[in-house]
């Protein structure tokens, strides 16, 4: 066996093919960028900050709208404190809220984003959120080291664009293979494609791809996907009411416990447009859900319909803000919270 020859040949071919692969994806600038993926490891790194947080600190919780719409750098510029960002893209926040309230001594401020369809439906992806909480407690030293080693690679290589959610446009082999489909209706359903609409910085701020801001073709690519699933939500009914009330009851107990140790909670209902707004109103009308929730929970609530600064931005794909609008929106929100006495302004640079 001429193994040396085989090894050398394999090495040359591997380096060449990986280089070509990387260079190719680097040309797809509309879709791909090298960044440290917002996975359970990055979340755990952020979650660890809660252990040392003081009553002056703020924790952001919520799903993707809170992740895209709030920018912690803009927040810090305005208030003087960088919030701990524990939002979760595609993840309802309840398990995170439970974790912070039940497993820590944190007594600062929680700012919680509410996306009604995900927030009040206990069957919506809670297990995925729980896995991240579990990972924070169970992660091994090997996983921590692996995460540190992966950072320089992910920061610099576009071909490593992938997510735990296995989005349609990820670049790992599994996602690439899953793009292949045979349209023969063997299984019924909407065939929803989870398309990644942005990336994140290392403080876990979600940033929408610039291509979505002004290009209607890209926007339609996403809104077409929303149109496959959102119309399927049921109308408001007794069943929905019971589900919502159950959630309100559970959250009320948690919030009471948190307030009991000096903590403050603020709820924010971010803007939604078109299909998202229409079908949310149909399944969870404001007067029956949001109003009832804010009344029961006895916390300040900010609804986008009540404040001009919350509804003035156009959402490129009906649900999330682009990066620039997110900064303005964050600043306006922080000013409002300071004005209303919920936050204190600290020295800023």
């Amino acid at each position: 066996m001429k193994l040396k020859q085989s090894f050398t040949f394999a090495l040359v071919l591997t380096i060449a093919s990986i280089t070509i692969w990387e260079l190719y994806w680097r040309t797809q600038t509309d879709y791909y960028i090298a960044y440290l993926e917002d996975d359970r490891n990055l979340w755990s790194q952020e979650r660890a900050k809660v252990e040392k947080a003081t009553s002056e600190d703020i924790i952001l919780l919520g799903a993707s709208r809170t992740g895209y719409n709030f920018n912690t750098h803009a927040w810090e510029d305005t208030q003087g404190i960088k919030p701990i960002n524990l939002t979760g893209n595609g993840k309802p926040p309840q398990p995170f809220i439970e974790d912070v309230i039940n497993n820590t001594k944190f007594n600062g401020t929680l700012v919680i984003g509410v996306t009604p369809l995900a927030f009040f439906d206990s069957s919506f992806r809670r297990n995925v959120t729980k896995q991240w909480v579990k990972h924070y407690y169970d992660r091994t030293y090997s996983q921590r080291l692996g995460f540190e080693l992966s950072k320089p690679l992910k920061r610099n290589l576009v071909m490593l664009s992938a997510s735990e959610a296995k989005s349609y446009n990820d670049l790992d082999l599994k996602s690439l293979i899953n793009r292949i489909s045979i349209d023969d209706d063997r299984i019924k359903g909407d065939k929803f494609k989870l398309v990644n609409i942005g990336y994140n910085d290392e403080y876990r701020n979600l940033i929408m791809f610039p291509r979505l801001t002004n290009n209607p073709a890209y926007q339609k690519e996403i809104t077409d996907e929303w149109d496959k699933v959102i119309p399927g939500v049921p109308d408001y009914s007794k069943k929905v009411e019971n589900t919502v009330q159950r959630e309100i009851k559970t959250l009320s107990v948690l919030v009471k416990k948190f307030k009991g140790r000096g903590g403050k909670v603020i709820f924010v209902r971010h803007k939604a447009e078109e299909g998202w707004n229409k079908h949310t109103k149909r399944m969870m009308p404001r007067d029956k859900v949001w109003n009832s929730f804010i009344k029961a929970i006895e916390c300040p609530g900010y609804h986008f319909e009540d404040y001009e600064f919350m509804s003035k931005h156009t959402l490129p794909e009906w649900s999330h803000m682009n990066a620039e609008d997110a900064k303005t929106y964050t600043k306006d929100m922080v000013y409002q919270l300071i004005k209303d006495g919920h936050l204190k302004k600290h020295k800023t640079n």
Partner: protein, 471 residues
């Protein structure tokens, strides 16, 4: 630490760099390997290294006394101590909750109102592997089949050697300890071949098992619905492939890594899905466990020395316990029981309906064997009997109207991968990878190696745990 992780790559580079540097003599290199093995294990859960130390200390002490003691009674006591400690660990950590759960069930069944909170005991990674390995040493010492390890360092390294510590192959003392007596250094060819094996092992795990098959198997076995027959079969064969690539992948990595250090580990898989019958299967699947069970359970139970009935009983007990070794659940016992039944039926067939295996009927026989093995995997993979029974009903069309959850592309993908795997096993069953590589042009081998490495890199494995770590 997982082989398919960045931390392991860094760990291996450091270990190899120190191992091949000239700063350490052989004894210190062994000390370094031992220390590295504890780091390898401790990076998962440091306190559980203590279990390894206790096992090592007890079996070293027992072995020392078994080597010099002539009094049969005392010898037996030392053996029993070793077995008590090792099986005690296994019993407590692996079967504690299972035993408690069944105790509660029995109590309730006889009318005693007794409830117990699950103990939620953490399962130390690879405990079934290292306890079996270290027990083989004391049993062989008791039977005077092996010599006592020359030094404690050699013995400790035998128990803890990181390439095969958590998922085998389960190596006998005489095959591994003796390799530690003299300085080992891989030749250039051995080192490159070891690296090639490591690549193949990782490819099997990351690309074949995790990327191509695991999703389908998880979807099917995780579904609460009653499934269509095609979906149930495809999910089952996907798991069949997944578990092979996952476990054989680990063994191949272990053998490759050891070879890079100049240490030779035995084969653990020899193209098992092309087995001609079930005796053949167990000579090809997880060879180090099946030979362990044969030598330390089946033969002591009487083997084939006491008549047919006793032989069948020994066979069945061995397979049932082999099933339980894999996991603390009755479904694993059924898996073992099915294999025991297959083995008994095969022996009956050989006795009453013998036929010659030719090249014409061989492939058909291999396919039948593979199909029967797939049925057993249903019980291995399903978390409950209800799910297993639903799957069996779907697979044999004992119910109609099952739901289709797999799309056409997934069905084609899984079927193609499994068909290729089966054919590869068939064509490779009487040869080995090394033999084939020797006949292959170095450039073709290099091309195959490059393709595997490329796919491995772009697969971006998320560090999925090997299935056999839980055993």
């Amino acid at each position: 630490m997982l082989f398919n992780s960045l931390s392991f790559i860094l760990f291996l580079i450091i270990v190899l760099a120190i191992y091949y540097s000239k700063i350490l003599n052989w004894t210190n290199k062994k000390r370094m390997l031992l220390f590295s093995s504890y780091v390898f294990y401790g990076m998962w859960n440091p306190p559980l290294v203590i279990l390894l130390w206790i096992s090592t200390m007890i079996d070293w002490t027992a072995g020392k006394h078994l080597a010099v003691e002539d009094n049969q009674k005392k010898r037996k006591m030392w053996l029993l101590l070793s077995m008590f400690v090792n099986l005690g660990f296994l019993g407590f950590f692996k079967y504690g909750d299972f035993l408690l759960e069944n105790f509660v069930l029995v109590m309730n069944a006889i009318g005693v109102d007794f409830q117990a909170k699950p103990m939620d005991i953490i399962l130390p990674m690879g405990i079934s592997f290292y306890t079996f390995q270290t027990m083989s040493y004391t049993i062989d010492m008791y039977k005077r089949k092996t010599e006592r390890a020359r030094t404690f360092l050699d013995f400790a390294l035998y128990v803890t050697f990181f390439p095969q510590l958590v998922a085998g192959p389960i190596v006998r003392a005489k095959d591994l300890i003796t390799q530690f007596y003299e300085e080992k250094k891989a030749t250039t060819n051995q080192f490159i071949w070891g690296l090639f094996l490591l690549t193949i092992g990782l490819f099997q795990k990351v690309v074949m098992a995790d990327t191509l098959l695991a999703g389908t198997s998880d979807d099917v076995f995780g579904s609460a619905k009653l499934l269509h027959g095609v979906d149930a079969w495809v999910g089952t064969i996907a798991f069949s492939g997944q578990i092979f690539f996952d476990f054989a992948g680990y063994s191949t990595c272990a053998i490759g890594i050891a070879l890079m250090l100049g240490i030779i580990l035995p084969d653990n898989f020899r193209y098992p899905y092309a087995s001609l019958g079930f005796s053949d299967l167990w000579r090809r699947w997880h060879i180090s466990l099946s030979s362990w069970l044969r030598d330390y359970l089946y033969i002591p139970l009487g083997g084939n020395r006491h008549g047919i009935t006793r032989m069948y009983a020994a066979l069945m007990i061995t397979m049932l316990l082999g099933g339980l070794w894999h996991g603390a659940a009755w479904t694993f016992m059924v898996w073992g029981g099915l294999h025991g039944t297959y083995l008994i039926l095969e022996r009956l067939q050989r006795r009453y309906l013998p036929f010659e295996i030719t090249k014409w009927n061989g492939m058909f026989l291999a396919f039948i064997t593979f199909s029967c093995v797939n049925i057993t995997w249903v019980f291995f993979r399903a978390r409950t009997f209800e799910k297993a029974w639903d799957m069996i009903k779907s697979m044999f069309y004992m119910q109609t109207g099952g739901e289709k959850i797999l799309d056409t592309f997934t069905i084609i993908k899984v079927s193609t991968v499994i068909a290729i795997m089966f054919l590869c096993h068939w064509f490779m069953r009487n040869t080995s990878m090394k033999e084939v590589s020797q006949k292959t042009s170095p450039y073709v081998l290099g091309l195959v190696w490059a393709i595997m490495t490329f796919l491995l890199i772009i697969a971006q494995g998320s560090g999925e745990q090997f299935i056999y770590f839980q055993f």
